[in-house]
Amino acid sequence: MSFFEYLALNRAEVLSSTLEHVWLVAVSSGLAIAIGVPAGILLTRRPRLRAPILGFANVVQTIPSLALFGFLIPLPFIGGIGARTAIVALVLYGLLPLIRNTYTGITSVDPAVREAAHGMGMTDAQVLWLVELRLAAPVILAGVRIAVVLGVGIGTIAAAIGGGGLGEFIFRGVAMVNSAVILAGAVPAALLALIADGGLHLLERRLDWRR
């Protein structure tokens, strides 16, 4: 059976898996942003935390997904099997670009601008919110873009722990030695990645305050 025949016969299933995939990536990216951006800001305020936190995010990247799931299964609340565990893993994998880009974006703001802001009588919070974050926005958003596109790709591993998503077709295809089934997962995942990348690129240009 060819890829297109398979797709035509299973379009409802492919569509629901795609939506599941979007949900997995949206939830995990949202959580990763909620954790990663504040963590990146924290690093600019507490330089001593830089080595341990970036080290942690780096090390997480090197753990193979199956091994990471193996560690997560026994843990209460965040572990077990199913979508929740998959999301925890995806959040962990998404942290590095977010923390790093937030940190780099803020530290590369011209010190003269920061001093001028302080000189105008802004509080620390105002400097952060009105100056630093705005100027760093394109770099931070570039980190978000990397994290989301990566998330679409590695989101396929959710299927290894019963988390659903487009990876199911890939794993099933591998088990059945059927490339049409593998493609039914891989092609929509690739399209999602392109769409997410393009959409965030547009947003990035909108938010570039320096232009």
Binding site: I73, P74, I81, A160, I161, F171, A175
Partner: protein, 307 residues
């Protein structure tokens, strides 16, 4: 553009000429190959996974115990590589599974009748390729429905039929292959009238073992000879309705082997029935989980086999 493409063509032609100069030598290649291999040795092959490699090593050492010279070609790739190799005389013996030969090589539809499978592979191999199936080693490497040993003991159950009344409260976790294959999940439900508490969590096979051991799932479908079964203290529910197709392991041998080396026949026959599923699990465990060398594990095993 034009120049570069004509240059490329000239290069290609030169390359062609160079190879065609060697063409007359081509018929000599088999001679060269046979000069390298020693015809006074039995070549033992195996597929590229632990159990097959271990069985290859056991067969090799058993033949050596009968003063036969052996050349090992273990880890040869999958079923088809081994099959082509033995047909071509590149290897003399390797261990195959009846169900694999039946479905993957003879491409016959799955059946659960062990006797029928044996008859089909035995007669077809002999007629088509002059290959002989030696005495089965004694174990069946098929899907195994596994639960935690302490659950089996607490409930006092041994078989799948006995498990049906408890399965209603069980959370299953299965690998993709088991869910997809026609001799897998759907058929199992029908054969035993099983119902579970939830739809199965479909996941990586290795992780499903972990999920069962950690209490995140209550029943999984593993392989009956996986070392993990012993390592994680799991219990295999007996397939008392013989739903799963048979995958009995037995050495496949070239017919001419026994005329070239008459002692090999007795040596292989002695291995018949010596490896139970429990035994094979322990052997796999020694290599996969305890990380001991296969040569050593095979030697220890053969020390317990009557010569």
């Amino acid at each position: 553009m034009k120049r570069s493409s004509s240059a490329a063509r000239a290069k290609l032609q030169r390359a062609k000429r160079r190879t065609s100069a060697l063409l007359p030598l081509l018929p000599l290649l088999p001679l060269l190959a046979s000069a390298c291999s020693r015809p006074d040795a039995i070549v033992v092959g195996s597929k590229n996974f632990t159990e097959s490699m271990l069985l290859g090593e056991i067969v090799a050492q058993q033949l050596e115990r009968y003063q036969l010279r052996v050349e090992r070609k273990l880890y040869l790739g999958g079923t088809f590589v081994c099959h082509e190799a033995i047909k071509a005389g590149q290897i003399d013996v390797y261990v195959e599974y009846t169900g694999t030969a039946y479905s993957a090589i003879l491409v016959l539809p799955a059946t659960t009748d062990a006797a029928q499978v044996w008859r089909a592979v035995d007669s077809t191999y002999a007629a088509r390729w002059n290959l002989k199936w030696a005495e089965p080693l004694g174990f069946n490497n098929t899907f195994a429905m596994l639960i935690r040993r302490r659950d089996a003991e607490r409930l006092g159950i041994r078989t799948l039929s006995q498990a049906v009344r408890y399965a209603r409260t069980w959370r299953p976790a299965f690998g993709y292959e088991f869910v997809e294959r026609e001799d897998g999940y759907q058929g199992l439900l029908k054969a035993y009238g099983l119902t579970f508490a939830a739809r199965p969590a479909v996941m990586d096979l290795g992780l499903s073992y972990k999920a069962l051991a950690e209490g995140r799932a209550d029943i999984i479908a593993g392989n009956s000879t996986d070392g993990q079964v012993a390592a994680l203290d799991l219990f295999q529910l007996e397939d008392d309705r013989h739903y799963f197709p048979p995958y009995e392991a037995a050495p496949v041998v070239r017919r001419d082997l026994f005329t070239r080396f008459p002692a090999a026949r007795g040596a292989l026959a002695k291995l018949g029935g010596t490896i139970t599923e429990e035994k094979m699990r322990q052997l796999n465990y020694q290599v996969d989980v305890a990380h001991r060398p296969a040569i050593e594990v095979a030697r220890e095993f053969l020390a317990g086999v009557e010569k």
